[in-house]
Protein backbone atom coordinates (compact mmCIF):
# COMPACT_ATOMS: atom_id res chain seq x y z
CA UNK A 1 0.00 0.00 0.00
CA UNK A 2 1.19 3.53 -0.79
CA UNK A 3 1.74 6.09 2.00
CA UNK A 4 -1.26 8.10 3.18
CA UNK A 5 -1.42 11.57 1.55
CA UNK A 6 -1.52 14.41 4.08
CA UNK A 7 -4.78 16.16 4.90
CA UNK A 8 -3.89 19.31 2.94
CA UNK A 9 -3.33 17.43 -0.32
CA UNK A 10 -6.54 15.45 0.21
CA UNK A 11 -8.52 18.67 0.78
CA UNK A 12 -7.09 20.25 -2.38
CA UNK A 13 -7.90 17.06 -4.31
CA UNK A 14 -11.49 17.12 -3.04
CA UNK A 15 -11.91 20.76 -4.10
CA UNK A 16 -10.48 20.01 -7.54
CA UNK A 17 -7.64 22.52 -7.03
CA UNK A 18 -6.10 23.10 -10.49
CA UNK A 19 -2.72 23.87 -8.87
CA UNK A 20 -2.38 20.21 -7.78
CA UNK A 21 -0.15 18.61 -10.43
CA UNK A 22 -1.03 15.40 -12.26
CA UNK A 23 1.58 13.22 -10.58
CA UNK A 24 0.09 14.09 -7.18
CA UNK A 25 -3.47 13.48 -8.42
CA UNK A 26 -2.49 10.02 -9.70
CA UNK A 27 -0.77 9.04 -6.49
CA UNK A 28 -3.76 10.21 -4.44
CA UNK A 29 -6.18 8.28 -6.67
CA UNK A 30 -4.10 5.08 -6.58
CA UNK A 31 -4.01 5.32 -2.82
CA UNK A 32 -7.74 6.02 -2.50
CA UNK A 33 -8.57 2.87 -4.43
CA UNK A 34 -7.06 0.70 -1.71
CA UNK A 35 -7.54 2.77 1.48
CA UNK A 36 -11.01 3.02 3.04
CA UNK A 37 -9.81 5.42 5.78
CA UNK A 38 -8.60 8.03 3.28
CA UNK A 39 -11.85 7.67 1.30
CA UNK A 40 -13.64 8.53 4.55
CA UNK A 41 -11.45 11.63 5.03
CA UNK A 42 -12.07 12.63 1.41
CA UNK A 43 -15.86 12.53 1.98
CA UNK A 44 -15.41 14.97 4.88
CA UNK A 45 -13.50 17.42 2.64
CA UNK A 46 -16.06 17.42 -0.19
CA UNK A 47 -17.53 20.89 -0.86
CA UNK A 48 -21.29 21.42 -0.58
CA UNK A 49 -22.03 21.63 -4.29
CA UNK A 50 -20.34 18.24 -4.83
CA UNK A 51 -22.41 16.72 -2.04
CA UNK A 52 -25.57 18.18 -3.57
CA UNK A 53 -24.62 16.73 -6.95
CA UNK A 54 -24.02 13.28 -5.40
CA UNK A 55 -27.36 13.53 -3.64
CA UNK A 56 -29.10 14.32 -6.92
CA UNK A 57 -27.36 11.43 -8.73
CA UNK A 58 -28.26 8.97 -5.97
CA UNK A 59 -31.89 10.07 -6.06
CA UNK A 60 -31.91 9.75 -9.87
CA UNK A 61 -30.47 6.24 -9.76
CA UNK A 62 -32.98 5.17 -7.10
CA UNK A 63 -35.81 6.52 -9.22
CA UNK A 64 -34.46 4.71 -12.30
CA UNK A 65 -34.29 1.41 -10.41
CA UNK A 66 -37.81 1.87 -9.06
CA UNK A 67 -39.27 2.72 -12.50
CA UNK A 68 -37.32 0.15 -14.55
CA UNK A 69 -38.19 -3.49 -15.04
CA UNK A 70 -37.72 -5.66 -11.98
CA UNK A 71 -34.75 -8.06 -12.04
CA UNK A 72 -35.38 -11.46 -13.61
CA UNK A 73 -36.26 -13.85 -10.79
CA UNK A 74 -33.83 -16.70 -10.31
CA UNK A 75 -35.32 -19.77 -11.89
CA UNK A 76 -35.13 -23.16 -10.34
CA UNK A 77 -33.56 -25.77 -12.57
CA UNK A 78 -36.59 -28.07 -12.39
CA UNK A 79 -39.03 -25.41 -13.57
CA UNK A 80 -37.16 -25.08 -16.88
CA UNK A 81 -36.62 -28.84 -17.06
CA UNK A 82 -40.35 -29.45 -16.72
CA UNK A 83 -40.92 -27.55 -19.97
CA UNK A 84 -38.13 -29.33 -21.81
CA UNK A 85 -38.84 -31.24 -24.97
CA UNK A 86 -38.65 -34.67 -23.43
CA UNK A 87 -41.43 -34.00 -20.96
CA UNK A 88 -43.83 -32.97 -23.71
CA UNK A 89 -42.84 -35.45 -26.38
CA UNK A 90 -41.39 -38.40 -24.55
CA UNK A 91 -43.81 -38.60 -21.62
CA UNK A 92 -46.70 -40.22 -23.59
CA UNK A 93 -44.39 -42.84 -25.08
CA UNK A 94 -42.84 -43.69 -21.75
CA UNK A 95 -46.29 -43.86 -20.14
CA UNK A 96 -47.36 -46.29 -22.85
CA UNK A 97 -44.26 -48.43 -22.23
CA UNK A 98 -45.04 -48.48 -18.50
CA UNK A 99 -48.66 -49.45 -19.19
CA UNK A 100 -47.68 -52.32 -21.51
CA UNK A 101 -45.17 -53.62 -18.97
CA UNK A 102 -47.83 -53.36 -16.24
CA UNK A 103 -50.27 -55.39 -18.35
CA UNK A 104 -47.58 -57.99 -18.98
CA UNK A 105 -46.97 -58.31 -15.23
CA UNK A 106 -50.71 -58.73 -14.53
CA UNK A 107 -51.13 -61.27 -17.34
CA UNK A 108 -48.21 -63.28 -16.11
CA UNK A 109 -49.48 -63.28 -12.53
CA UNK A 110 -52.97 -64.24 -13.73
CA UNK A 111 -51.90 -66.96 -16.19
CA UNK A 112 -48.74 -68.65 -14.92
CA UNK A 113 -49.00 -71.40 -17.58
CA UNK A 114 -47.89 -68.94 -20.35
CA UNK A 115 -44.16 -68.25 -20.90
CA UNK A 116 -43.00 -65.12 -19.04
CA UNK A 117 -44.46 -62.20 -21.03
CA UNK A 118 -42.38 -59.71 -19.06
CA UNK A 119 -39.20 -61.49 -20.15
CA UNK A 120 -40.38 -61.59 -23.76
CA UNK A 121 -41.22 -57.88 -23.86
CA UNK A 122 -38.27 -56.59 -21.84
CA UNK A 123 -35.78 -56.45 -24.76
CA UNK A 124 -38.02 -54.17 -26.85
CA UNK A 125 -39.33 -52.05 -23.97
CA UNK A 126 -36.91 -49.09 -24.45
CA UNK A 127 -37.32 -49.05 -28.24
CA UNK A 128 -40.40 -46.77 -28.59
CA UNK A 129 -38.68 -44.12 -26.49
CA UNK A 130 -35.41 -44.49 -28.41
CA UNK A 131 -37.21 -44.09 -31.73
CA UNK A 132 -38.78 -40.81 -30.61
CA UNK A 133 -35.65 -39.45 -28.94
CA UNK A 134 -33.98 -37.77 -31.95
CA UNK A 135 -36.37 -37.67 -34.79
CA UNK A 136 -37.51 -34.93 -37.12
CA UNK A 137 -41.14 -36.04 -36.85
CA UNK A 138 -41.33 -35.67 -33.09
CA UNK A 139 -38.90 -32.83 -32.34
CA UNK A 140 -40.45 -29.57 -33.57
CA UNK A 141 -37.15 -27.70 -33.41
CA UNK A 142 -35.20 -30.35 -35.32
CA UNK A 143 -34.05 -27.99 -38.07
CA UNK A 144 -32.67 -25.49 -35.58
CA UNK A 145 -30.97 -28.20 -33.55
CA UNK A 146 -29.59 -30.19 -36.50
CA UNK A 147 -27.34 -27.25 -37.44
CA UNK A 148 -25.79 -26.78 -33.99
CA UNK A 149 -22.41 -28.18 -32.93
CA UNK A 150 -24.08 -30.18 -30.13
CA UNK A 151 -26.07 -32.24 -32.67
CA UNK A 152 -24.67 -35.70 -33.25
CA UNK A 153 -24.11 -38.97 -31.43
CA UNK A 154 -23.65 -37.16 -28.10
CA UNK A 155 -27.12 -35.67 -28.27
CA UNK A 156 -28.69 -38.99 -29.34
CA UNK A 157 -27.00 -40.78 -26.44
CA UNK A 158 -28.06 -38.09 -23.96
CA UNK A 159 -31.67 -38.42 -25.02
CA UNK A 160 -31.44 -42.23 -25.02
CA UNK A 161 -30.08 -42.02 -21.48
CA UNK A 162 -33.24 -40.13 -20.44
CA UNK A 163 -35.33 -42.97 -21.91
CA UNK A 164 -33.24 -45.64 -20.17
CA UNK A 165 -33.36 -43.76 -16.87
CA UNK A 166 -37.14 -44.29 -16.91
CA UNK A 167 -37.37 -47.72 -18.57
CA UNK A 168 -34.63 -49.55 -16.64
CA UNK A 169 -36.21 -48.97 -13.18
CA UNK A 170 -39.57 -50.02 -14.67
CA UNK A 171 -38.00 -53.25 -15.92
CA UNK A 172 -36.35 -53.84 -12.55
CA UNK A 173 -39.68 -53.41 -10.75
CA UNK A 174 -41.50 -55.66 -13.26
CA UNK A 175 -38.77 -58.30 -12.90
CA UNK A 176 -38.99 -58.15 -9.11
CA UNK A 177 -42.82 -58.58 -9.16
CA UNK A 178 -42.69 -61.65 -11.40
CA UNK A 179 -39.47 -63.19 -10.15
CA UNK A 180 -37.72 -62.96 -13.52
CA UNK A 181 -33.92 -62.84 -13.28
CA UNK A 182 -32.71 -59.21 -13.33
CA UNK A 183 -29.81 -59.87 -15.73
CA UNK A 184 -32.20 -61.32 -18.30
CA UNK A 185 -34.45 -58.26 -17.96
CA UNK A 186 -31.70 -55.66 -18.38
CA UNK A 187 -28.99 -57.02 -20.69
CA UNK A 188 -31.31 -57.86 -23.63
CA UNK A 189 -32.95 -54.43 -23.43
CA UNK A 190 -29.56 -52.71 -23.39
CA UNK A 191 -28.39 -54.87 -26.30
CA UNK A 192 -31.49 -53.93 -28.32
CA UNK A 193 -31.05 -50.22 -27.51
CA UNK A 194 -27.40 -50.28 -28.61
CA UNK A 195 -28.29 -52.32 -31.70
CA UNK A 196 -31.00 -49.87 -32.78
CA UNK A 197 -28.53 -46.98 -32.51
CA UNK A 198 -25.79 -48.91 -34.35
CA UNK A 199 -28.20 -49.95 -37.12
CA UNK A 200 -29.61 -46.42 -37.03
CA UNK A 201 -26.28 -45.08 -38.26
CA UNK A 202 -27.05 -46.77 -41.57
CA UNK A 203 -30.82 -46.57 -42.00
CA UNK A 204 -31.97 -44.06 -39.36
CA UNK A 205 -32.85 -44.90 -35.76
CA UNK A 206 -36.62 -44.91 -36.34
CA UNK A 207 -36.39 -47.48 -39.13
CA UNK A 208 -33.84 -49.49 -37.17
CA UNK A 209 -36.26 -49.69 -34.24
CA UNK A 210 -39.10 -50.84 -36.50
CA UNK A 211 -36.91 -53.54 -38.07
CA UNK A 212 -35.59 -54.84 -34.74
CA UNK A 213 -39.00 -54.84 -33.05
CA UNK A 214 -40.56 -56.67 -36.03
CA UNK A 215 -37.79 -59.27 -36.14
CA UNK A 216 -38.01 -59.91 -32.39
CA UNK A 217 -41.81 -60.25 -32.37
CA UNK A 218 -41.94 -62.57 -35.41
CA UNK A 219 -38.88 -64.69 -34.64
CA UNK A 220 -39.13 -65.01 -30.85
CA UNK A 221 -42.32 -63.69 -29.23
CA UNK A 222 -44.87 -65.31 -31.58
CA UNK A 223 -43.28 -68.81 -31.67
CA UNK A 224 -42.88 -68.90 -27.91
CA UNK A 225 -46.52 -67.87 -27.40
CA UNK A 226 -47.62 -70.61 -29.83
CA UNK A 227 -45.47 -73.32 -28.25
CA UNK A 228 -45.88 -71.99 -24.67
CA UNK A 229 -42.17 -72.36 -24.07
CA UNK A 230 -39.56 -69.78 -23.22
CA UNK A 231 -37.15 -69.40 -26.19
CA UNK A 232 -33.64 -70.68 -25.73
CA UNK A 233 -32.14 -67.17 -25.98
CA UNK A 234 -33.95 -66.17 -22.79
CA UNK A 235 -32.81 -69.13 -20.69
CA UNK A 236 -30.81 -68.10 -17.62
CA UNK A 237 -27.48 -69.07 -19.24
CA UNK A 238 -27.96 -66.46 -22.00
CA UNK A 239 -27.36 -63.34 -19.90
CA UNK A 240 -23.62 -63.26 -20.57
CA UNK A 241 -24.28 -63.50 -24.29
CA UNK A 242 -26.66 -60.54 -24.15
CA UNK A 243 -24.14 -58.47 -22.18
CA UNK A 244 -21.50 -59.28 -24.78
CA UNK A 245 -23.86 -58.30 -27.61
CA UNK A 246 -24.64 -54.98 -25.87
CA UNK A 247 -20.92 -54.19 -25.57
CA UNK A 248 -20.27 -55.14 -29.20
CA UNK A 249 -23.12 -52.93 -30.46
CA UNK A 250 -21.95 -50.02 -28.29
CA UNK A 251 -18.43 -50.37 -29.70
CA UNK A 252 -19.81 -50.47 -33.24
CA UNK A 253 -21.76 -47.28 -32.56
CA UNK A 254 -18.73 -45.50 -31.14
CA UNK A 255 -16.71 -46.49 -34.21
CA UNK A 256 -19.33 -45.00 -36.55
CA UNK A 257 -19.90 -41.80 -34.55
CA UNK A 258 -19.21 -39.64 -37.62
CA UNK A 259 -22.38 -40.95 -39.31
CA UNK A 260 -24.58 -39.18 -36.76
CA UNK A 261 -23.45 -35.63 -37.50
CA UNK A 262 -26.44 -34.94 -39.70
CA UNK A 263 -30.00 -35.99 -39.09
CA UNK A 264 -30.44 -38.64 -41.78
CA UNK A 265 -33.61 -38.75 -43.87
CA UNK A 266 -34.52 -42.03 -42.15
CA UNK A 267 -35.22 -40.05 -39.01
Amino acid sequence: MTTHPDAGVLARYAEGDPALDEANVWSVETHLETCADCRGHLAGHAPDDTLALLERVAAGIDRGIADGPSPVPRRRAWSAASRRWFVVTLAPWLTMTAAVLGCAVLLQLGMPELPSLVLLLAPVAPLPGVAVAWNRRTDPAWELIAGTPAAGLGMLLRRTAVVLAVVVPLLAVAGARTGAPLALMLFPSLAFTAASIALGALIGVRRAVLVLAAVWSLAVVLPSLVTSELPVVLHPGGAAGWALAACAMAALTAARADLFRRLSSGN
Partner: protein, 265 residues
Protein backbone atom coordinates in the same frame (compact mmCIF):
# COMPACT_ATOMS: atom_id res chain seq x y z
CA UNK B 1 -21.49 -3.77 -25.46
CA UNK B 2 -19.41 -6.86 -25.00
CA UNK B 3 -15.74 -7.63 -24.70
CA UNK B 4 -14.03 -8.73 -27.88
CA UNK B 5 -11.73 -11.68 -27.47
CA UNK B 6 -8.35 -12.06 -29.11
CA UNK B 7 -9.74 -14.90 -31.25
CA UNK B 8 -12.21 -12.50 -32.87
CA UNK B 9 -9.58 -9.98 -33.92
CA UNK B 10 -7.15 -12.62 -35.21
CA UNK B 11 -6.76 -12.51 -39.00
CA UNK B 12 -8.81 -15.10 -40.89
CA UNK B 13 -6.88 -17.91 -42.53
CA UNK B 14 -9.42 -18.36 -45.32
CA UNK B 15 -10.24 -16.24 -48.33
CA UNK B 16 -14.03 -16.71 -48.33
CA UNK B 17 -16.41 -17.16 -45.42
CA UNK B 18 -18.60 -19.27 -47.71
CA UNK B 19 -17.07 -21.02 -50.70
CA UNK B 20 -19.09 -23.44 -52.84
CA UNK B 21 -17.76 -25.06 -55.99
CA UNK B 22 -20.05 -27.02 -58.31
CA UNK B 23 -22.29 -27.62 -55.31
CA UNK B 24 -25.14 -30.08 -55.84
CA UNK B 25 -27.79 -30.66 -53.17
CA UNK B 26 -30.86 -32.85 -53.35
CA UNK B 27 -34.22 -31.99 -51.83
CA UNK B 28 -35.76 -35.45 -51.61
CA UNK B 29 -35.09 -36.97 -55.03
CA UNK B 30 -35.06 -33.64 -56.87
CA UNK B 31 -31.69 -31.97 -57.50
CA UNK B 32 -32.60 -28.53 -56.15
CA UNK B 33 -29.10 -26.99 -56.25
CA UNK B 34 -27.32 -28.00 -59.43
CA UNK B 35 -23.68 -27.03 -59.92
CA UNK B 36 -23.67 -23.76 -57.98
CA UNK B 37 -20.49 -21.71 -57.60
CA UNK B 38 -20.66 -19.18 -54.79
CA UNK B 39 -18.09 -17.08 -52.96
CA UNK B 40 -19.17 -14.86 -50.09
CA UNK B 41 -17.16 -12.46 -47.99
CA UNK B 42 -18.04 -10.24 -45.04
CA UNK B 43 -21.12 -8.16 -45.74
CA UNK B 44 -24.86 -8.54 -46.23
CA UNK B 45 -25.78 -10.71 -49.21
CA UNK B 46 -29.33 -10.91 -50.48
CA UNK B 47 -30.42 -14.19 -52.08
CA UNK B 48 -33.19 -13.69 -54.63
CA UNK B 49 -34.97 -16.10 -56.90
CA UNK B 50 -38.40 -17.34 -57.98
CA UNK B 51 -40.22 -20.05 -56.02
CA UNK B 52 -38.52 -23.40 -56.44
CA UNK B 53 -35.18 -21.84 -57.38
CA UNK B 54 -33.46 -23.85 -54.64
CA UNK B 55 -32.96 -21.03 -52.14
CA UNK B 56 -34.13 -22.96 -49.09
CA UNK B 57 -32.22 -26.09 -50.09
CA UNK B 58 -29.06 -24.02 -50.55
CA UNK B 59 -29.63 -22.44 -47.12
CA UNK B 60 -30.06 -25.87 -45.52
CA UNK B 61 -26.86 -27.13 -47.13
CA UNK B 62 -24.95 -24.05 -45.98
CA UNK B 63 -26.37 -24.56 -42.47
CA UNK B 64 -24.93 -28.14 -42.58
CA UNK B 65 -28.42 -29.59 -42.11
CA UNK B 66 -28.43 -31.23 -45.56
CA UNK B 67 -25.47 -33.15 -46.91
CA UNK B 68 -24.38 -32.00 -50.37
CA UNK B 69 -24.57 -34.82 -52.92
CA UNK B 70 -21.68 -33.40 -54.91
CA UNK B 71 -19.16 -30.59 -55.20
CA UNK B 72 -17.13 -28.77 -52.59
CA UNK B 73 -18.46 -26.66 -49.74
CA UNK B 74 -16.18 -24.75 -47.38
CA UNK B 75 -17.46 -22.66 -44.46
CA UNK B 76 -15.02 -20.46 -42.51
CA UNK B 77 -12.14 -22.45 -43.97
CA UNK B 78 -13.57 -25.83 -42.85
CA UNK B 79 -14.71 -28.36 -45.42
CA UNK B 80 -18.28 -29.39 -44.60
CA UNK B 81 -19.14 -31.57 -47.58
CA UNK B 82 -18.83 -35.33 -47.21
CA UNK B 83 -18.11 -36.86 -43.81
CA UNK B 84 -15.96 -34.08 -42.39
CA UNK B 85 -16.18 -32.97 -38.74
CA UNK B 86 -18.76 -30.18 -38.70
CA UNK B 87 -18.35 -29.05 -35.12
CA UNK B 88 -15.92 -26.17 -35.67
CA UNK B 89 -17.79 -24.72 -38.62
CA UNK B 90 -21.13 -25.08 -36.79
CA UNK B 91 -19.86 -23.03 -33.82
CA UNK B 92 -19.51 -20.03 -36.15
CA UNK B 93 -22.93 -20.49 -37.77
CA UNK B 94 -26.27 -18.85 -37.11
CA UNK B 95 -29.29 -20.20 -38.94
CA UNK B 96 -32.94 -19.18 -39.10
CA UNK B 97 -34.97 -21.74 -41.09
CA UNK B 98 -37.95 -20.69 -43.15
CA UNK B 99 -40.55 -22.51 -41.02
CA UNK B 100 -38.94 -23.29 -37.76
CA UNK B 101 -40.52 -25.29 -34.99
CA UNK B 102 -39.99 -24.46 -31.34
CA UNK B 103 -40.99 -25.76 -27.95
CA UNK B 104 -44.25 -23.91 -27.18
CA UNK B 105 -43.85 -24.09 -23.40
CA UNK B 106 -40.41 -22.46 -23.37
CA UNK B 107 -40.17 -18.75 -22.62
CA UNK B 108 -38.29 -16.64 -25.18
CA UNK B 109 -35.34 -16.46 -22.80
CA UNK B 110 -35.27 -20.21 -22.21
CA UNK B 111 -35.50 -20.84 -25.96
CA UNK B 112 -32.59 -18.51 -26.75
CA UNK B 113 -30.53 -19.83 -23.83
CA UNK B 114 -31.17 -23.44 -24.85
CA UNK B 115 -30.02 -22.67 -28.40
CA UNK B 116 -26.94 -20.88 -27.02
CA UNK B 117 -26.15 -23.99 -24.99
CA UNK B 118 -26.54 -26.20 -28.07
CA UNK B 119 -24.21 -23.84 -29.94
CA UNK B 120 -21.62 -24.45 -27.22
CA UNK B 121 -21.46 -20.87 -25.97
CA UNK B 122 -19.43 -21.01 -22.70
CA UNK B 123 -21.87 -21.60 -19.84
CA UNK B 124 -21.15 -18.42 -17.79
CA UNK B 125 -21.66 -16.30 -20.93
CA UNK B 126 -25.06 -17.76 -21.86
CA UNK B 127 -27.44 -15.52 -19.81
CA UNK B 128 -25.67 -12.35 -20.98
CA UNK B 129 -25.54 -13.47 -24.61
CA UNK B 130 -29.24 -14.40 -24.57
CA UNK B 131 -30.26 -11.07 -23.01
CA UNK B 132 -28.18 -9.17 -25.57
CA UNK B 133 -29.65 -11.10 -28.52
CA UNK B 134 -33.20 -10.54 -27.23
CA UNK B 135 -32.54 -6.81 -26.84
CA UNK B 136 -31.10 -6.56 -30.35
CA UNK B 137 -34.30 -7.89 -31.89
CA UNK B 138 -36.48 -5.71 -29.64
CA UNK B 139 -38.18 -8.48 -27.65
CA UNK B 140 -37.04 -7.35 -24.17
CA UNK B 141 -40.60 -6.77 -22.95
CA UNK B 142 -41.60 -10.30 -24.02
CA UNK B 143 -38.46 -12.07 -22.79
CA UNK B 144 -40.31 -14.05 -20.14
CA UNK B 145 -43.46 -14.76 -22.15
CA UNK B 146 -44.01 -18.31 -23.36
CA UNK B 147 -43.34 -18.94 -27.03
CA UNK B 148 -46.91 -20.12 -27.66
CA UNK B 149 -48.29 -16.72 -26.57
CA UNK B 150 -46.26 -14.76 -29.16
CA UNK B 151 -47.55 -13.39 -32.48
CA UNK B 152 -46.06 -14.56 -35.79
CA UNK B 153 -43.74 -11.56 -36.10
CA UNK B 154 -42.51 -11.98 -32.52
CA UNK B 155 -41.79 -15.68 -33.07
CA UNK B 156 -39.73 -14.71 -36.11
CA UNK B 157 -37.81 -12.14 -34.05
CA UNK B 158 -37.19 -14.78 -31.38
CA UNK B 159 -35.85 -16.94 -34.22
CA UNK B 160 -33.51 -14.15 -35.30
CA UNK B 161 -32.39 -13.79 -31.65
CA UNK B 162 -31.43 -17.47 -31.43
CA UNK B 163 -29.56 -17.16 -34.75
CA UNK B 164 -27.38 -14.28 -33.53
CA UNK B 165 -26.93 -15.45 -29.93
CA UNK B 166 -23.49 -16.97 -30.59
CA UNK B 167 -22.25 -13.92 -32.58
CA UNK B 168 -21.91 -16.04 -35.73
CA UNK B 169 -19.39 -15.30 -38.45
CA UNK B 170 -21.78 -16.76 -41.02
CA UNK B 171 -25.43 -15.86 -40.49
CA UNK B 172 -28.05 -17.56 -42.68
CA UNK B 173 -31.56 -16.13 -42.60
CA UNK B 174 -34.26 -17.80 -44.67
CA UNK B 175 -37.18 -15.41 -45.28
CA UNK B 176 -36.61 -13.46 -42.04
CA UNK B 177 -38.96 -10.57 -42.86
CA UNK B 178 -42.13 -12.65 -43.27
CA UNK B 179 -44.63 -11.48 -40.64
CA UNK B 180 -42.71 -8.34 -39.64
CA UNK B 181 -44.58 -5.03 -39.86
CA UNK B 182 -43.02 -2.14 -41.87
CA UNK B 183 -41.45 -0.49 -38.82
CA UNK B 184 -39.91 -3.78 -37.65
CA UNK B 185 -38.58 -4.37 -41.16
CA UNK B 186 -36.71 -1.05 -40.96
CA UNK B 187 -35.28 -2.00 -37.55
CA UNK B 188 -34.34 -5.37 -38.98
CA UNK B 189 -32.44 -3.70 -41.84
CA UNK B 190 -30.43 -1.70 -39.30
CA UNK B 191 -29.68 -4.89 -37.38
CA UNK B 192 -28.53 -6.56 -40.62
CA UNK B 193 -26.23 -3.67 -41.49
CA UNK B 194 -24.81 -3.78 -37.95
CA UNK B 195 -24.09 -7.53 -38.09
CA UNK B 196 -22.82 -7.32 -41.67
CA UNK B 197 -19.93 -5.07 -40.63
CA UNK B 198 -17.85 -8.02 -39.42
CA UNK B 199 -19.79 -11.16 -40.42
CA UNK B 200 -21.02 -12.77 -43.60
CA UNK B 201 -24.82 -12.54 -43.69
CA UNK B 202 -26.90 -14.35 -46.32
CA UNK B 203 -30.56 -13.33 -46.40
CA UNK B 204 -32.97 -15.20 -48.60
CA UNK B 205 -36.07 -13.22 -49.53
CA UNK B 206 -38.53 -12.63 -52.34
CA UNK B 207 -38.83 -8.90 -51.61
CA UNK B 208 -36.56 -7.15 -54.09
CA UNK B 209 -36.79 -3.79 -52.28
CA UNK B 210 -35.52 -5.40 -49.04
CA UNK B 211 -32.42 -6.55 -50.87
CA UNK B 212 -31.74 -3.20 -52.52
CA UNK B 213 -32.20 -1.32 -49.24
CA UNK B 214 -30.27 -3.58 -46.89
CA UNK B 215 -27.74 -5.61 -48.88
CA UNK B 216 -24.29 -4.85 -50.16
CA UNK B 217 -24.42 -7.71 -52.61
CA UNK B 218 -27.18 -9.44 -54.57
CA UNK B 219 -27.26 -13.11 -55.55
CA UNK B 220 -29.86 -14.26 -58.04
CA UNK B 221 -30.66 -17.96 -58.34
CA UNK B 222 -32.85 -19.80 -60.77
CA UNK B 223 -33.41 -23.53 -61.16
CA UNK B 224 -30.53 -24.36 -58.83
CA UNK B 225 -27.98 -22.27 -60.69
CA UNK B 226 -26.36 -18.90 -60.02
CA UNK B 227 -27.71 -16.32 -62.47
CA UNK B 228 -26.16 -13.13 -61.17
CA UNK B 229 -23.96 -11.86 -58.37
CA UNK B 230 -23.14 -8.18 -57.94
CA UNK B 231 -24.07 -4.96 -56.18
CA UNK B 232 -27.61 -3.54 -56.10
CA UNK B 233 -26.59 -0.89 -58.66
CA UNK B 234 -25.50 -3.60 -61.08
CA UNK B 235 -28.89 -5.31 -60.64
CA UNK B 236 -30.69 -2.04 -61.35
CA UNK B 237 -28.49 -1.41 -64.41
CA UNK B 238 -29.76 -4.64 -66.02
CA UNK B 239 -33.37 -3.41 -66.20
CA UNK B 240 -34.98 -1.35 -69.02
CA UNK B 241 -38.21 0.63 -69.03
CA UNK B 242 -39.84 -2.22 -70.97
CA UNK B 243 -39.27 -4.85 -68.26
CA UNK B 244 -41.92 -5.93 -65.76
CA UNK B 245 -41.76 -4.38 -62.29
CA UNK B 246 -42.60 -1.28 -60.28
CA UNK B 247 -39.09 -0.24 -59.24
CA UNK B 248 -35.76 -0.14 -61.10
CA UNK B 249 -34.52 -3.09 -59.03
CA UNK B 250 -37.60 -5.19 -59.87
CA UNK B 251 -37.12 -4.42 -63.56
CA UNK B 252 -33.49 -5.52 -63.29
CA UNK B 253 -34.60 -8.70 -61.51
CA UNK B 254 -37.17 -9.65 -64.15
CA UNK B 255 -34.81 -8.76 -67.02
CA UNK B 256 -32.08 -11.03 -65.64
CA UNK B 257 -34.50 -13.91 -65.10
CA UNK B 258 -35.99 -13.54 -68.58
CA UNK B 259 -32.54 -13.48 -70.17
CA UNK B 260 -31.49 -16.57 -68.15
CA UNK B 261 -34.59 -18.51 -69.22
CA UNK B 262 -34.06 -17.45 -72.80
CA UNK B 263 -30.45 -18.64 -72.63
CA UNK B 264 -31.39 -22.02 -71.12
CA UNK B 265 -34.31 -22.73 -73.46
Amino acid sequence: MRTISAAETAPATYAWAVHAEQLRVKAGRHLAVDGLDLRLQTGVHGLLGPNGAGKTTLMRALATVLKPSGGQLTLLGETVSGRADLRRARRGLGYLPQDFGFYPRFTVREFVEYMAWLKEVPKPAIPGAAQRAIERVGLTAKADAKMKTLSGGMVRRAGIAQAIVNDPQVLLLDEPTVGLDPEQRLDFRDLLADIGVDSCVLVSTHLVEDVVAACTDVILMSEGKLVFQGGPEALIAHGDQGDAGFSPAERGYSALLRRHRGGVA
